[in-house]
């Protein structure tokens, strides 16, 4: 696929940042507000599609994408196995453990430990859930972009995909 006109490319450059940021927000804030790894990942993948259409198919490297995809999936399952260490598969072992970022569950009014997460709404309260969202997001971005690139290459350049 050839790059499109400079108008399209400029608009794409302008839109790129905000949409990417929105996708990242949806991923990282997914345990508290509507959204999560999949939704955010899909939004970022639409940006990737935009970039692909505006700048041509040469932009993305497939190898890196498939590496990110495998890593995301592996990290997700790995986190499930880590839960095994302190309890059971996919156990939310960070919740309520007062660890660095994700474990603090504090009642916003009284400041005391509030038990299980997601009953109240401080940002750093989901335990492993934000991490899982992040990994899912990685996987989804990479996988959907790969699909788009492979099909785009096939449709416009007549190349066989992997």
């Amino acid at each position: 696929m050839k790059p499109m006109s400079s108008v399209v490319r400029t608009i794409t450059k302008l839109l790129l940042g905000p949409i990417f940021l929105f996708g990242a927000y949806i991923i990282l804030h997914g345990h508290l507000t509507p959204g999560g790894g999949f939704q955010g990942g899909a939004i970022i993948a639409t940006v990737m599609t935009l970039v692909l259409i505006a700048f041509g198919t040469r932009v993305w490297k497939k190898n890196i994408l498939s590496f990110i995809e495998s890593t995301g999936l592996l990290a997700f399952v790995g986190l499930g196995f880590l839960g095994l260490g302190s309890g059971f598969f996919l156990f939310n072992f960070l919740a309520g453990s007062d660890s660095l970022f994700f474990g603090k569950v504090i009642e916003p009014v009284t400041g005391e430990f509030a038990g299980w997460p997601a009953n109240s709404a401080p940002l750093l309260s989901g335990g492993t859930v934000p991490l899982l969202n992040l990994f899912v997001g990685m996987e989804v971005v990479a996988a959907l972009t790969l699909i788009i690139i492979t099909m785009g290459l096939f449709a416009f350049d007549g190349k066989e995909g992997e």
Binding site: T33, M151, F154
Partner: protein, 123 residues
């Protein structure tokens, strides 16, 4: 259900399923058939979400910040079907992408787009 529309979402579900099925049964173009599947998926997803909305009087989205804003925990629409629908959307995308790439490859190999020609395997 507090709206005046009553059963209309369900009627839409039936309509979407029927239109999708009609496309799959009648239309001969393979890409049209893929579109029919997408429409049927839309119908099934809408069915699940409507179910979640209709269960009792729980009308609000399952956003937990609403509790801080003064809502009671009981006033949210059921989150389970939402999770189901999300999964079904993911699966739908995967099948659509895979099906379209098969159709593209088959076109490249044999130049077929119609189901009448897409029948080397038969008998």
């Amino acid at each position: 259900m507090t709206t005046a529309l009553g059963e209309l979402p369900y009627i839409t579900v039936i309509a979407l399923l029927a239109i999708g099925l009609y496309i799959i049964l009648v239309k001969k173009n393979l890409i049209k058939i893929a579109m029919g599947i997408v429409i049927m998926e839309a119908g099934a997803n809408l069915f699940l979400i409507t179910l979640a909305f209709n269960s009792g009087d729980r009308l609000s989205a399952p956003v937990f910040t609403s509790q801080i804003m003064g809502g009671t925990p009981a006033t949210y629409s059921l989150p389970t079907p939402h999770a189901l629908t999300l999964t079904s959307i993911v699966i739908g995308l995967a099948t659509t992408a895979l099906l379209l790439s098969f159709i593209m490859q088959a076109y490249k190999k044999h130049k077929v787009t119609s189901t009448d020609e897409f029948r080397r395997l038969r008998g």
